[in-house]
């Protein structure tokens, strides 16, 4: 335990410079590997919900039990994977399934039966409730349509 400061100037042999460089490189690599070994579990831990959500978005079909009883002129909001979606039963009897996420900045849109339109309250975007086409306001793209199959027990909504 008798340590003194090392004040003796280090005299390097010609070959010593290489071993020293090699040592520093190895130490640096070991340090990086160590840091990565610490950081990797932390990253995976924090990324867990995002990963689970990614798995959920891989869903291609959702069955809405008893949704065939939805009265005409009304809407059913549901989750397709993790994203909000809407099933509209129009007054004329047509069934339409759409994503409910505004293509402008991601707010959840609303079906308005009186005005016969889909409206986004955030920035006033308007969509066609039959095709999902962006009609007016800022939305740059239409809402995506789903395939809809109505049966006696429920409604199947699947990716088009």
């Amino acid at each position: 335990m008798t340590e003194q400061t090392n004040l003796v100037p280090v005299v390097e042999e010609p070959g010593e410079k290489n071993t020293r460089r090699a040592f520093l490189a190895a130490a640096g690599a070991a340090g990086l590997a160590y840091t990565a070994a610490l950081a990797y579990p932390i990253y995976r831990y924090l990324a867990s919900p995002a990963e689970m959500a990614m798995n959920a978005t891989a869903v291609t079909e959702v069955t809405l039990k008893d949704a065939q009883k939805l009265p005409a002129g009304s809407v059913l909001m549901f989750k397709f994977g993790t994203a909000p979606a809407m099933l509209i039963h129009h007054a004329d009897g047509r069934w339409v399934g759409l994503t409910a996420v505004c293509t402008h900045l991601g707010c959840t849109v609303q079906y308005e039966p009186q005005a016969d339109r889909i409206h986004c309250a955030c920035h006033g975007g308007v969509y066609n409730p039959y095709t999902g086409a962006n009609v007016s306001g800022p939305p740059p793209k239409p809402l995506k349509l789903f395939k809809v199959a109505v049966s006696d027990t429920g409604v199947d909504v699947s990716r088009a």
Partner: protein
């Protein structure tokens, strides 16, 4: 060049060069007992690990009625959640252990003497808060063990005459350990205790800078020319950091090889599991109270009170040591203090051993 300009700009405003000059002149005594100087730093490092892993657990933990379910998710659903939780639990144990080593080394080096009384007092307060950290954190998973540990632990304040039951009910948030208890222990564990602990820790570390490391009396008796020291920067710091790295490796090994388990969800109708016992750092005080309760004339409720009183008296004597072992010359008092320390170590080890021995 730019870095020089930036440094000067900041230096003029914050006085970095004064700090650098201070760091350059800081030295650490070198003698046969220098090894014990690392334990304060190790405790500090493990506390930082606690802050870091604690915040990570906070990302998914939900106090209240969902507490158990959220810890189950952390342990079994989130990637590496078991490891983060295990590291937090192991690091808590290691931190208490290293604080105890630090405390006893300070005690036997008589580093609590003038001018370091506040260092001793703040250190004792930090240890006290650390054990409350341990006690409150233990409940948060809300499994069988946490439920019964908290139930039993709160019987101690409940034994205080007159006001005890009210204090216990206040801490519990009701007459039994429930989701209200988890919720308030959570507030205590992540807000109240850190808010007290951090400034106190700052004070403790500032005192260490102000007074430097204390050398044991035998070294202090030497003439200055015979005392050895090493510069803090970079020699001691380098060794300090090496110790931190060793501590981190030991922690990583323990946390991954012996992952902290999660018991069944707490249920007041299910009897306590066989072999249930307190965490090792609470084993000794529990065993002491149990042994005191066994003495014939101490039996019954009044025995419990006498036990707590004796115990409190011992702790008070321990905390106040700088005020009655204050003479530089090693006289009778210094020797008495030394024996008191030895007695404390032996009591602690013996009661812990008996505690583990008699687990049924």
């Amino acid at each position: 060049m730019t870095s020089k300009i930036v440094y000067n700009w900041i230096d003029e405003r914050l006085g970095l060069s004064e700090l650098a000059a201070f760091a350059r002149h800081k030295t650490v005594p070198v003698h046969s007992q220098s090894f014990w100087y690392y334990w304060g730093g190790i405790s500090l490092f493990l506390f930082l690990v606690q802050c870091f892993t604690g915040v990570l657990l906070l990302v998914y933990y939900r106090p209240g009625a969902e507490a158990y379910e959220s810890v189950r998710q952390i342990t079994f659903v989130m990637h590496f959640g078991w490891l983060i939780r295990s590291a937090h639990a192991w690091s808590a144990s290691l931190m208490i252990f290293s604080i105890l080593v630090h405390m006893f080394s300070v005690f036997f080096m008589k580093a609590y003497r003038k001018p370091r009384e506040f260092g001793w007092l703040s250190g004792m307060a930090l240890l006290g808060i650390a054990s409350v950290f341990g006690f409150s954190g233990y409940l948060l998973p809300m499994d069988e063990l946490s439920y019964f540990a908290t139930k039993v632990g709160l019987e101690i304040p409940a034994a205080i005459p007159f006001i005890g039951p009210a204090i216990a009910s206040m801490l519990r948030g009701g007459l039994d350990v429930s989701e209200f208890t988890v919720q308030r222990f959570f507030a205590l564990h992540v807000v109240v205790l850190p808010a007290i602990f951090l400034p106190l820790l700052g004070f403790h570390l500032w005192l260490v800078q102000r007074h430097g490391n204390a050398a044991p009396p035998s070294v202090e008796a030497l003439p200055p020319s015979e005392r050895k020291s090493m510069p803090f920067m970079p020699n001691f710091l380098r060794k300090d950091l090496a110790m931190w790295l060793i501590a981190l490796n030991i922690l990583a090994l323990l946390a991954s090889v012996f992952p902290w388990s999660l018991g069944k969800q707490a249920d007041s109708l299910v009897p306590a599991p066989a072999g249930i016992h307190p965490e090792w750092y609470f084993m000794s005080p529990f065993e002491m109270l149990k042994l005191l309760g066994m003495i014939k004339w101490l039996q019954g409720e009044s025995g419990e009170i006498v036990g707590i009183l004796l115990f409190t008296l011992g702790i008070a004597l321990w905390i106040l040591i700088p005020f009655y072992d204050n003479k530089k010359e090693s006289g009778q008092r210094a020797r008495a203090a030394h024996y008191f320390g030895l007695l404390a170590v032996i009591l602690l080890l013996a009661t812990t051993a008996i505690g583990y021995w008699t687990i049924r």
